[in-house]
């Protein structure tokens, strides 16, 4: 046991870990937002609600069908992703030719509907989701105690983030995707089904949000408003990082999570607002965002 700036190391590392956990959710969500924005030119306000849907899907699977955490990790994102694709086909696709703002307004409305329905059905109080048995307990790392589940969340989200980065930046499919982002008409002329690609991209982004929701369920309670509180912070993360680069979204997400965790140790009153303050500073110094290009 030792102290750093008068703070016991245990508390410091504990908050750092919590910061990394929050950071992995920021990274996963801002990654999904960036991928969706790249293809659809729409800011998906429903993202928070879809994250919440992922958590609820895991909760319902466990309590009504007895399907546990590990299958839920696959089923929930697919189900919510399909739901997202239906929304894209039935609603979002009519807005691509209009001002971006209509996409924001539509997805905001959808978020209100989903959240309202969840609140009517389950109330605003959080519902507990049991941690999978295989990830109970923890490791003593010498300088701190690492609960297994938290270690798993950080590891899994890093892996997912880098897999996404790899697919988009290093594979043929990713090359089609990036090309379609730049010039959809031309890519379509080459015989690639761009509308299908757009639908799948939206489904994928939404699936990422749902996956984050499943991973969050055992840590935070499952509650209808878990997404709306988070999505505004994620918007700030996206403004700070800029949506131009996948790697930028990942680095900014984790980095801000850690900064937020440290703020909780040294200046707890500001822990809710520190990310917004950083956003303001970044806007003053580098208006395009840390990884953004000026449009």
């Amino acid at each position: 046991m030792f102290e750093i700036f008068g703070v016991p190391s245990q508390a410091l590392f504990g908050q750092l870990l919590l910061g990394l956990i929050n950071g992995s959710f920021y990274a996963l969500l801002s990654l999904g937002l960036a991928v969706i924005f790249g293809m659809l030119n729409i800011i998906n306000f429903t993202h928070g609600a879809q994250y919440m849907m992922g958590a609820f899907a895991a909760f319902l699977l466990l309590n009504f069908t007895g399907i546990g955490y590990w299958p839920a990790l696959v089923i929930a994102p697919i189900v919510v992703g399909i739901f997202g694709m239906i929304i894209e086909r039935t609603m979002l696709q009519w807005l691509y030719k209009l001002d971006h703002l209509y996409g924001l307004l539509l997805t905001f409305g959808l978020a209100l509907i989903i959240e309202g329905l969840a609140r009517n059905q389950y109330g605003s109080a959080g519902l507990p989701y049991a941690m999978p048995d295989s990830l109970r307990g923890g490791q003593n790392l010498g300088f701190m105690f690492l609960p297994n589940y938290r270690g798993w969340v950080i590891f899994a989200s890093l892996a997912i983030c880098f897999a996404t980065w790899f697919v988009i930046e290093r594979t043929r499919l990713g090359a089609y995707l990036r090309a379609a982002t730049e010039n959809p008409t031309l890519v379509r002329a080459f015989g690639i089904n761009v509308p299908l690609m757009i639908t799948l991209t939206y489904g994928f982004g939404v699936g990422l949000a749902a996956l984050a929701g499943v991973m969050a369920a055992p840590i935070y309670n499952v509650s209808p408003q878990m997404g709306s509180d988070l999505i505004i912070v994620v918007f700030a993360v996206v403004v700070i990082g800029g949506m131009g680069s996948i790697m930028g979204a990942i680095v900014t997400g984790f980095g801000l999570g850690v900064i937020e965790g440290l703020t909780k140790v040294f200046f707890p009153e500001a822990s809710n607002t520190v990310i917004f303050v950083i956003m303001a500073i970044v806007l003053l110094i580098r208006p395009a965002g840390l990884f953004g290009r000026t449009a």
Binding site: L98, L101, L106, G109, L112, G116, L283
Partner: protein, 322 residues
């Protein structure tokens, strides 16, 4: 430069102005007789939100800027106005001016940050800044946290007119609303307003014509925030309370909804939208828990099928400008 903008503005007045003038007088007559038939407290609430929505519409409708954090100016103005009236003992007119000043200062700070980015980022930045100030309101001592500031005195207008009666209060609110409404009308029909519309249509072109568009956007933003502040301050005096509801992001969403329902970029749309939404909240009280869902459905329906809004559709059918 001034001469050039004035020649652009001139034809808009003579040809299309008549329908606006008629509609304005119809609205004034309706609002003057309304309190004798409808509960004045409901009307006052609707008028406060109508002014709030008009202020918001000045940005989205005439500059093309979607501010998703207008609750910041509305809510903080109501806090400061309530505090001024209750703790500092300000008379109502000064309390409302305190609200306006709060809106102006916050609008200057938030606006100068937000206009550094365009389009969708602008909306996200305004939302994030509003959320930051929501947390400040939650933690600050003077706001009373979850309880808000309660028991704000309505006081005596200019030290003479007692505002305790709902009827007296109503006509003060009506005067404030009409003053704000006419001020906005004046802004959008001025050479300054024409430049704003030019920025909305094609910002790079406005820049190439030599306009410092950032400065125009900032002034419009501050004006909008100030008027939202007037609305918030008035609401605090009328309802004698300032609370967290008014600074929450859902309030920012509500004002967007009102403007969308009424018609983005129409002059009378925000007023109609505010009355529709407030009436829905008051008269569908039984459906309390469904209000969020219904609001969401209205958003979706408006965006997909009904983008002109109520007033926009009427204006389109009658081929006039409203």
């Amino acid at each position: 430069m001034v001469a050039a903008t004035e020649t652009i503005a001139a034809p808009a007045h003579s040809a299309e102005g008549r329908s606006e003038v008629i509609a304005f007088f119809v609205m004034v007559v309706l609002l003057v007789i309304a309190p004798f038939f409808i509960y004045p407290l409901f009307l006052m609430q609707a008028l406060c939100f109508a002014l709030f929505a008009c202020a918001f519409n000045l940005l989205i409708g005439y500059v093309g800027l979607l501010s998703f954090g207008h609750a910041l100016y509305f809510g903080w103005a109501s806090y400061l106005a309530a505090h001024a009236a209750k703790v500092w003992g300000f008379p109502p007119e000064l309390a409302i001016l305190t609200g306006a000043a709060t809106g102006a200062v916050l609008g200057l700070v938030a606006g100068s940050l937000a206009i550094r980015r365009q389009g969708i980022y602008f909306a996200m930045i305004t939302l994030a800044l509003a959320q930051m100030m929501y947390f400040f309101a939650l933690q600050a001592k003077f706001t009373g946290g979850e309880d808000g500031i309660q028991g704000v005195p309505r006081g005596k207008l200019f030290g003479m007119i007692d505002l305790t009666s709902h009827m007296t209060m109503y006509f003060l609110v009506l005067v404030i609303f009409l003053a704000g409404f006419l001020f906005i009308l004046r802004i959008i029909n001025s050479p300054f307003g024409e430049v704003l519309k030019a920025i909305r249509e094609n910002e790079p072109r406005a820049i190439s014509l030599g306009y410092k568009t950032d400065r125009y956007k900032l002034v419009a933003f501050v004006l909008s925030a100030t008027l939202a502040g007037v609305a918030g301050g008035t609401k605090a005096i009328v309802f004698q309370i300032a609370s967290l509801t008014d600074v929450h992001w859902s309030m920012s969403g509500e004002v967007v909804l009102m403007t969308l329902v009424g018609g983005l970029g129409t002059i009378f749309g925000p007023v109609a939208g505010a009355f529709v939404i407030i009436a829905m909240q008051n008269y569908l009280n039984a459906l309390d828990q469904w209000v969020t869902v219904i609001q969401g459905v209205i958003f979706v329906v408006c965006v997909l099928l009904f983008r002109r809004g109520v007033i926009g559709e009427i204006a389109h059918l009658l081929r006039i400008k409203l």
